[in-house]
């Protein structure tokens, strides 16, 4: 039995005690109230009987004097279940009745009183009675009372009922504790065991779900969803570190090799100079990768960015197209902008401009230039944008080989470059950077077929539109995706 299981047993035991205590107190209170009420009714009845008897006896006294009273008492005391009677003279001497040994001071008191008495019949033992003293002229005292045996019996019944119910409640508490231990605590125990497995490093472990849909199931489901998310993030992290290892290690190795080679073989200032220039070039490339990674990491950490303004997307896109136009022309690619100005969006012009630049750069590198045969139509890249409801859709479309549907989600990940493109320059961060920037603005990036070619759609909230966007469809990156 593990320490945890012991704790659960202890929990069950404490629970049983608590159930027992609460139900016992409850039963006790209920029984006490009932007993109190019943006793009050019985007492009232007895008092009424005493008053009636006293009235009969006083009537006898008034009609027939002391003799009448005496004979009435003698007659009554012989009846079964008789009341108690005692008649004393002014000196306190007993004249008639069936009561012996009653404390003398009682005779001085008024109203109903409870006294201990002893009968003068056989089996004389001390009993309780409710009595009342009546004064008769010239100084006689008449005590009329009734035995309280009924009341004692009722009290006895109540005590027995309490005892029986205590036993019953104890059994109930034990059953309840057993049920809780079996069903609830056992399941919590199972959840705990699974959680410990996860803590020990098995992120694929999941908490058991009983299928009843109760609170514990809902808790387990939430925790499972959390575990899944953590698993996805962990996998993403692992992929990223693998990719960083590859994409940073390669240029770092190159950088180191250049420096080493220069030290080993360089024998003239020109060679040193060339090596140092190469070194700076490589480290600049590293810094670029690094900056892009930071930006993506920041977008994934969530939260918006400062420096958001309303700006004309048409102007921003045209500035980028203008920037790339000479290169496109050199490559024999038509680069066109198709935007009806002004198209106001709210965001960081810098980041969105950089995104457009990355996409155009990508389109030039992977789209327009690859897979061309002599005689193919002139490749083209079109940057367009339009307002769709509360969003602005920016599209960079090329006529290149495109991206197969199964890869469209993956290429938005960091460092992913499709087979055959790894040898070309570029960090593989362009698309994921675009996705990160879109996400920072509360938007997303989608890839689609341009038949032929690739259409990259960057969806951004229009100015004054709420940041929430409709649910993403295929190939989107509303959520960070990693495999």
């Amino acid at each position: 039995m593990t320490a945890l299981a012991k704790l659960f047993r202890a929990t069950a035991f404490r629970l049983a005690l608590a159930i027992l205590a609460v139900s016992s107190v409850g039963a006790g209170v209920v029984l006490a109230i009932i007993a109190w009420q019943v006793v009050a009714v019985v007492d009232e009845e007895i008092a009424r009987t005493i008053d009636a008897e006293a009235k009969g006896l006083t009537d006898a006294f008034n009609h027939d004097g002391l003799v009448g009273l005496y004979s009435s008492i003698e007659a009554r005391k012989r009846q079964p279940g008789a009341s108690l009677y005692l008649l004393t003279d002014p000196a306190g001497e007993s004249l008639a009745g069936n009561v012996e040994q009653i404390p003398l001071e009682v005779l001085e008191r008024q109203g109903f009183i409870v006294v201990n008495y002893r009968t003068n019949g056989p089996g004389d033992r001390v009993r309780q009675a409710l009595v009342r003293i009546y004064k008769l002229p010239p100084g006689f005292l008449l005590l009329v009372g009734h035995d309280l045996g009924d009341r004692a019996r009722i009290e006895g019944v109540m005590v027995r009922a309490l005892a029986v119910s205590l036993v019953f409640f104890a059994a109930l508490a034990a059953l309840g504790a057993l049920f809780v231990a079996r069903n609830v605590l056992k399941r919590i125990d199972d959840i705990n065991t699974s959680a410990q497995g996860v803590m020990a490093g098995d992120l694929t472990g999941r908490l058991p779900v009983s299928g009843s849909g109760d609170e514990l199931d809902r808790l387990a489901e939430s925790l499972n969803a959390m575990l899944k998310r953590i698993g996805v993030l962990m996998q993403g992290l692992r992929e990223v570190s693998d990719n960083i290892a590859h994409d940073l290690r390669t240029p770092l190795t190159r950088l180191r090799n250049h420096a080493e080679a220069a030290l080993a073989y360089g024998d003239d200032p020109a060679a040193y100079r060339a090596a140092l220039e190469k070194t700076i070039e490589e480290s600049d490339a590293l810094i670029k990768i690094f900056n892009a990674l930071l930006l993506i990491a920041r977008a994934e950490a969530g939260g918006g960015i400062d420096g958001q303004t309303a700006f004309d997307l048409a102007e921003a896109a045209r500035a980028v197209a203008d920037l790339y136009e000479p290169i496109a022309e050199e490559e024999g690619v038509d680069l066109a902008v198709d935007i009806d100005a002004p198209l106001t969006v709210r965001g960081n012009r810098e980041l969105i401009g950089q995104t457009i630049a990355n996409l155009v750069d990508n389109a030039l590198k992977y789209g327009a230039m690859s897979g061309r045969h002599p005689g193919d139509p002139k490749p083209s890249i079109v940057v367009s944008a339009r307002r769709v409801g509360d969003a602005v859709e920016l599209v960079v479309a090329d006529r290149g080989p495109g991206v197969p549907p199964e890869d469209r989600k993956r290429v938005l990940d960091r460092f992913v470059r499709l087979e055959g493109s790894r040898s070309r320059p570029g960090s593989g961060l362009g698309l994921s950077l675009a996705a990160a920037v879109a996400r920072m603005h509360g938007g997303r990036v989608e890839l689609a077929d341009n038949a032929p070619g690739l259409r990259v759609r960057v969806i951004l909230p229009a100015e004054h539109a709420p940041p929430a966007l409709p649910a993403p469809v295929s190939g989107s990156v509303h959520e960070p995706v990693a495999g």
């Binding site: 220039e277 700076i280 480290s283 600049d284 810094i287 670029k288 900056n291 930071l294 930006l295 920041r298 960015i305 400062d306 420096g307 500035a319 980028v320 203008d322 920037l323 790339y324 000479p326 290169i327 050199e330 960081n348 012009r349 810098e350 980041l351 401009g353 950089q354 630049a357 990355n358 750069d361 030039l364 320059p425 570029g426 960090s427 362009g430």
Partner: protein, 227 residues
């Protein structure tokens, strides 16, 4: 020119001091914000280079305090943060230019030298730039060389305008991108070079004395080669 460097990293400060001195400048260094503020207030510096994170008084507070004292020394902010909004914050605080670490010294030098040129306060802005026999009229948007009109695209005009405004000084690719296209990112491809070579084809090709030169490892410069 006299340059004040406020930088707490002593290695970096020593390197900058040496490099600026070799470029022919006079350099003073402060290693914390308060000392830097006092030195900047005493004045006489043509440019101050301020690190964003400083002991005793951080860079942005220092700049705000200087501007509050009506001290208009041009300030370049150096920052290891490098985020997009960080740049915006720096310029909003009163900085004149911003450079993220790590940077190329050639970039820093070029930016510092163009910053200092903004100085002559109250002097009327030139409307016509002249470099050798090349003339650019900022009002009529006319460019002539040796009296012959050269037709430029609007973007080419702005490129040439910025180069001539900083005639005789190195202008880096990122500076061109900032001033001509209003973008501050680093383009993946050397797109600026293509623009410059196009401009060069228009202003230099048919003339024997080239004005627009490439400064290796730094950027471009326009100057009258004959002088």
């Amino acid at each position: 020119m006299r340059i004040l460097i406020i930088e707490d990293d002593r290695d970096a400060a020593a390197y900058l001091t040496k490099a600026f001195k070799e470029a022919g400048h006079v350099v003073d260094v402060a290693h914390d914000g308060v000392t830097g503020y006092d030195m900047a207030l005493e004045g006489g510096y043509e440019v101050a280079i301020v690190d964003r994170m400083l002991p005793k008084m951080d860079g942005l507070t220092l700049i705000g305090a200087l501007r509050g004292q009506k001290n208009e020394t041009p300030i370049l902010i150096l920052s290891a943060l490098g985020q997009v909004d960080d740049r915006v914050k720096g310029l909003r605080a009163g900085g004149d230019d911003y450079l993220a670490k790590p940077y190329a010294f050639s970039e820093l030098l070029a930016r510092v030298e163009t910053l200092a040129r903004r100085r002559p306060a109250g002097a009327p802005e030139e409307t016509v730039y002249r470099v050798g026999d090349l003339t650019l009229d900022r009002l009529s948007h006319k460019v002539t060389r040796r009296g012959e009109e050269i037709v430029l695209q609007p973007r080419e005009f702005r490129l040439l305008e910025y180069l001539m405004q900083n005639a005789g000084k190195v202008v880096t690719r990122t500076m061109l991108l900032e001033h001509v296209w209003d973008y501050h990112f680093d383009p993946q491809t050397n797109v600026i070079d293509v623009h410059v070579s196009r401009l060069r084809a228009k202003i230099d090709r048919d003339f024997d004395a080239p004005l627009l030169t490439t400064v290796r490892g730094a950027g471009y410069m326009i100057r009258d080669g004959a002088r």
